[in-house]
Symmetry: C2
Subunit: 300 residues, 2 copies
């Protein structure tokens, strides 16, 4: 399969638009009492995100023959959890960011207290959405509970939150707990849950799940490495944030550790790893293949 | 049934000790990586709390013939959610409290960022615990999903979080959205979920669930009214916090709205409402009856 960037970008945009229309239907309307929290939740979700996680849910679910409203709920729940994590990460007590993708962060618009609560409410709402998937046609309740376990584990203290703890507390930043450990928790765990949850709901076999888990691990690394590269040589107007912030904040990154060329080579290897892990799938996995290759061309 | 305060307090202590031993087993050990978050989570949970919500789960579950490890998981999940809400409420951006029950609040000990993350992790961990209840003997997966929906709804933007939004944003504090609305969301919703969830898992019929929901509503109000009364005439050393803080913060409370005697009379009426709502149950509901009557004697 040859990678066609232009074709891929139009497919990606289509899938992104679909996910956003689903999120719009699923999130509580902003006039529901108390409106302030529902406005803040929507602001946090409609933030110009790439929607990679929900798209992964839809693509990997499809591989297991899972589709329809149940899969859409899983996809939206993952994006709600991702959105909550960004709101909390941006808080003054954490990364203290005023802008995200060129727009004021949630706490700059709604105040710190409401931003904390909007994050809490998105996390809580994601689990309610997952639980409510129960009544939909073709949903196996046991598998759905396994999905909730999987997602909560990935988002929790030994997953994404654990990664943020490592990132924020200098005592964890040493050789032993390397960059890879940090990112495998902070972003990798939720990518893995995104790739596995739809497949679990669809009843994919163990080999298929292992392949998707491998893909997720390589994808997470490639994503983080290319993120670090963009912070060095990206275009500020496309990124919606200043470049060079990692260097300014003395952050340990793939480019500071391995140089720009070293990091680029590592990214290529991880993308190759993504492709190899999908060898057991046919053309139905082509979009996931392109999604990995695209990382080498991303501009934001 | 005559209320015997001394007997009740010894039963309450026994149940509280049991709940704490279960929480100790269920919460992630504090040396699991990254230890900081697991220490903060445990600090937040072992905070001298009254354990009312998990005790309610155990008592109401018993009424529906539900017992064992599954019920314990529900009880602990509710307490984890309650604990997370206290950690976030205490944050500088919210109530900015340095002490809770005489001990430094979570953010005073672990820093603001770790406290936010510990709250997030307790909330996430509660849902994981609920999902993992799936494999236990006698657990009906559909009912368990209904329980997760119930708890998430009670904790979310139209429940507990909504109540906190009303409490923190002055634009919601007017006649229309009265004190009762505030407290029915901020504390009532989680009491209701505590009383209903064990019963739902046990398969209680609709009449029984309605009775428990009525009990929860009256209990929540009686709890809040007696809380406001303690803030006026309580003993600071028993409360673990200064009295008179509501008046100092110009908070609208039951005593500022209805006077001390008016509030006392309202509390008695709500406790009476609790007892009446349990009329359809026999002696197996005696502890819940005593728990309501106790509110008129609480000292902290």
């Amino acid at each position: 399969m040859d990678f066609n960037l232009e074709l891929f970008l139009s497919q990606l945009q289509q899938k992104k638009d679909y996910v956003e229309s689903c999120l719009d239907k699923i999130l509580t309307a902003q006039d529901v009492f108390p409106p302030l929290i529902h406005q803040a939740m929507r602001y946090a979700v409609f933030n110009g995100g790439k929607r990679l996680r929900p798209i992964m849910v839809l693509e990997s679910g499809k591989l297991a023959g899972c589709e329809g409203e149940a899969l859409v709920n899983l996809a939206c729940a993952l994006e709600m959890i991702h959105s909550y994590s960004l709101v909390h990460d941006d808080l003054p007590a954490m990364d203290n960011d005023d802008l995200r993708r060129g727009k004021p962060t949630c706490h700059k618009v709604f105040g710190e207290a409401n931003a904390i609560l909007a994050g809490d409410a998105l996390l809580t709402g994601a689990f309610q959405l997952l639980a409510r998937t129960s009544g939909l046609p073709g949903v196996n309740a046991q598998r759905l509970l396994q999905v909730i376990d999987e997602i909560a584990g990935a988002a929790g203290s030994e997953g994404m939150i654990g990664g943020q703890v490592i990132d924020l507390n200098v005592e964890y930043q040493n050789e032993e707990h390397s960059l890879e450990k940090l990112h495998s928790l902070k972003t990798g765990a939720l990518f893995t849950a995104s790739l596995r949850s739809g497949a679990i709901l669809g009843g994919m076999d163990a080999n298929g799940l292992t392949a998707l888990t491998d893909y997720a691990r390589h994808f997470g690394l490639a994503f983080q490495i290319t993120d670090d590269i963009l912070d060095v040589d990206g275009d500020q107007s496309l990124l919606g944030k200043p470049v060079g912030s990692d260097e300014k904040n003395l952050k340990m990154t793939y480019t500071t550790c391995f140089g720009l060329d070293g990091a680029r080579e590592m990214a290529r290897q991880e993308v190759e790893g993504c492709l190899q892990s999908l060898n057991g799938f046919g053309s139905e996995a082509d979009f996931l293949r392109s999604l990995a290759e695209y990382l080498l061309y991303r501009t934001y």
